[in-house]
């Protein structure tokens, strides 16, 4: 009788598990359609537990291609169904993608139909990247070392194969192709791209320089164009979060910076003769300069015993940024630098309305900053944080005009012997005033030329 009762409980347990599994198959997308794998095999998986909370290294920007040589650009800081679904497809690829082969980079293969292209400003180690997805991804990690772009070519429905290309343009000039069968996320991504195309209300459509045959531009760059004679756009206004009516108030500073200190009562402050505000406790110092630069230093000597990696340091920088309550404008990862003393510096720039907000050379020199936000991490702890502490908001809708296209900007930037252009970007340019307008940023021979958008 006892044995019968045990058997009954086991049967009930199996029935309940089967019902849950079937429900998930109908309503969601399982990693595997294997009953035993999903329920029982994952119980023994320690990989995700040892990783802890590691963030996915976000792309600098994402291009959405409609298959007709037209693209839109999204910055990952903006919540969007396409980026969410794209991440799901990448996760599926890491989990069960099948390696097809390595080949030369062929952008026409990736861009001739609907596609999503993730672009990074530096080569990302595949091992560090997979940590954010909590996937071992052995098929992928054994065939890919690093990448600086990911191209997802989804299929219209899940019965067709989907291809994902990890592209290494900067070091090996190769693409690593993986295919995915029966991807529900891929089908949803395809539909999301179509919907985005139909509902897109922006003025800017981008073209691929490779598809356009512009081989003067070294790598594939997505450049914006407008159909009309000129582009109407909205300028931005620069807002100081610590000021009211143009005057910086200590109370606003103190409130805004309180999140950097764990023990508020132990904090003290002062303002020196040059007008620099300083807030400090035993281990942390925050300075605020008149030109709007915010600097944070951590002098705590405690160091984590875990070895710092790109993924863990990135997570530390992301967690720290969330603490800055006055950082209201979206940011994107613009660069990563590993210094000789083991410090990792993550550089971010602002973005508004899916356009980058870049600092002019004058502001960079005056404030001694290369990007809007710099986070220095050592042993997974933020040791230094420097920010051009302004937020950027749209001032008035379509109050400004641009009528110089990117080719004219290139012509104006080029010197006598123009052989190669590395990059060209349309973005807001922050100068020493509160009105922020669009400019062309052209990179030629590692030098950036900033030119007007008005003829």
């Amino acid at each position: 009788m006892k044995i019968n009762k045990i058997i009954n409980f086991v049967i009930l347990g199996l029935v309940a598990t089967a019902v849950i599994q079937t429900g998930k198959l109908w309503l969601g997308d399982m990693t595997s359609h294997n009953f035993f794998y999903t329920v029982f095999a994952s119980l023994g998986d320690n990989y995700t537990r040892t990783l802890g909370n590691v963030e996915v290294i976000e792309a600098e920007k994402i291009a959405v291609g409609y298959g007709n040589k037209k693209f839109s650009i999204i910055y990952p800081t903006n919540e969007n169904s396409i980026t969410g679904l794209g991440n799901q497809v990448i996760k599926e690829t890491l989990s069960k993608g099948k390696y097809i082969g390595t080949s030369d980079i062929n952008w026409n293969d990736y861009l001739n139909s609907k596609a999503v292209v993730y672009s990074y400003s530096f080569p990302v180690s595949i091992l560090e990247y997979t940590k954010g997805f909590k996937e071992k991804a052995e098929e992928v990690t054994s065939n890919v070392k690093s990448f600086d772009e990911i191209a997802i070519v989804p299929s219209r429905n899940s019965t067709e194969e989907l291809n994902v290309y990890f592209i290494n343009n900067s070091e090996f000039h190769e693409a690593y192709c993986f295919s995915l069968d029966r991807s529900g996320s891929g089908e949803k991504l395809y539909a999301a791209i179509e919907k985005y195309q139909q509902t897109y209300e922006g003025n800017l459509i981008y073209n691929s320089t490779i598809q356009s045959g512009f081989y003067l531009i070294k790598n594939n760059v997505f450049v914006p164009q407008w159909t009309q004679e000129s582009l109407k756009y909205s300028s931005l206004k620069r807002v100081n979060p610590y000021a009211s009516n143009g005057i910086v108030y200590k109370d606003l500073l103190e409130n805004g910076l309180s999140s950097f200190f764990t023990n508020q009562s132990a904090k003290w402050d002062e303002q020196d003769e040059s007008g620099v505000y300083m807030f400090s406790d035993e281990n942390n110092v925050v300075k605020y300069y008149e030109d709007g630069i915010l600097e944070y230093y951590n002098y705590d000597t405690y160091e984590s015993s875990n070895e710092q990696t790109l993924a863990t340091a990135y997570t530390a920088s992301q967690n720290f940024l969330k603490k800055d309550s006055t950082l209201k404008t979206g940011i994107f990862l613009a660069d990563v630098e590993l210094r000789s003393d083991g410090l990792l510096v993550f550089s971010y720039d602002y973005t508004v309305d899916n356009l980058p907000v870049l600092i002019s050379n004058d502001v960079k020199e005056k404030s001694n900053i290369s990007h809007a936000v710099e986070v220095t991490v050592k042993s997974d702890t933020v040791k230094r944080y420097k920010r051009y502490a302004y937020n950027f908001e749209i001032s008035e809708t379509n109050d400004s005009t641009a009528n110089m296209d990117f080719i004219t900007a290139v012509d104006n930037s080029s010197k006598d012997n123009l052989t190669e252009i590395q990059d060209i970007t349309l973005g807001y340019c922050v100068e020493n005033n509160d009105s922020v307008k669009l400019k062309w940023f052209t990179e030629i021979n590692d030098e950036i030329f900033i030119s007007n958008v008005l003829k």
Binding site: N68, K69, T227, I407, V410, L418
Partner: protein, 174 residues
């Protein structure tokens, strides 16, 4: 008397005898040099994107098309987009002029009307002969694309259409 007769005969012969002078064959020694016609080189021009093939008709569902390519610095590219009016005459809907700069690149997004769009491209530069090309782009309504994508046509007879979303057969297969 004799003198009169001789004179009359001579005059008569002169009136009825055609004197025709022909130019003799031109020999090298006597040839007069003629100014040679100047043949200007054609301006270098290439469309790398936006037009698949000139003198052929292509179809699209898109409202606009970006024509890109390269040419010589200083070249002027004129692009016009025309459609046929009710009388069958071409009417220019839009026209664009681009001067090619130091990069040698050009790019222009043109708007397309529903129906046949005749795209004419003319390129000229001082010291070069002009290049003219023409292409036809037929823009179809987007609703047709949606219908095509949402329905499955059975090959052989376009009257049979199965709606993939609802799985209703509009005409049963006999």
């Amino acid at each position: 008397m004799r003198k009169y007769l001789v004179t009359l005969t001579a005059l008569t012969l002169m009136c009825f005898t055609n004197v025709v002078a022909y130019a003799g064959p031109l020999s090298a020694a006597s040839a007069v040099p003629v100014e040679e016609a100047v043949v200007l080189p054609a301006v270098v021009f290439d469309v790398s994107s936006g037009i698949k093939s000139f003198d052929k008709t292509e179809s699209t569902f898109d409202e606009s098309r970006t024509i890109s390519g390269s040419s010589e610095q200083g070249a002027v590219i004129a692009i016009s987009v025309s459609t046929k009016n009710a009388d069958g005459n071409l009417k220019v809907n839009s026209a664009y002029n681009i001067e090619v700069g130091a990069s040698g690149l050009f790019s222009q997004t043109i708007e397309l009307a529903v129906g046949e769009n005749v795209v004419k491209i003319s390129v000229c530069k001082d010291g070069c002969s002009a290049v003219d090309e023409e292409a036809t782009i037929k823009r179809k309504k987007r609703e047709i694309k949606n219908e095509l994508e949402n329905g499955i046509s059975i090959p052989g007879d376009s009257s049979f259409t199965i709606k993939s979303s609802s799985f209703t057969i509009s005409n049963p297969i006999k």
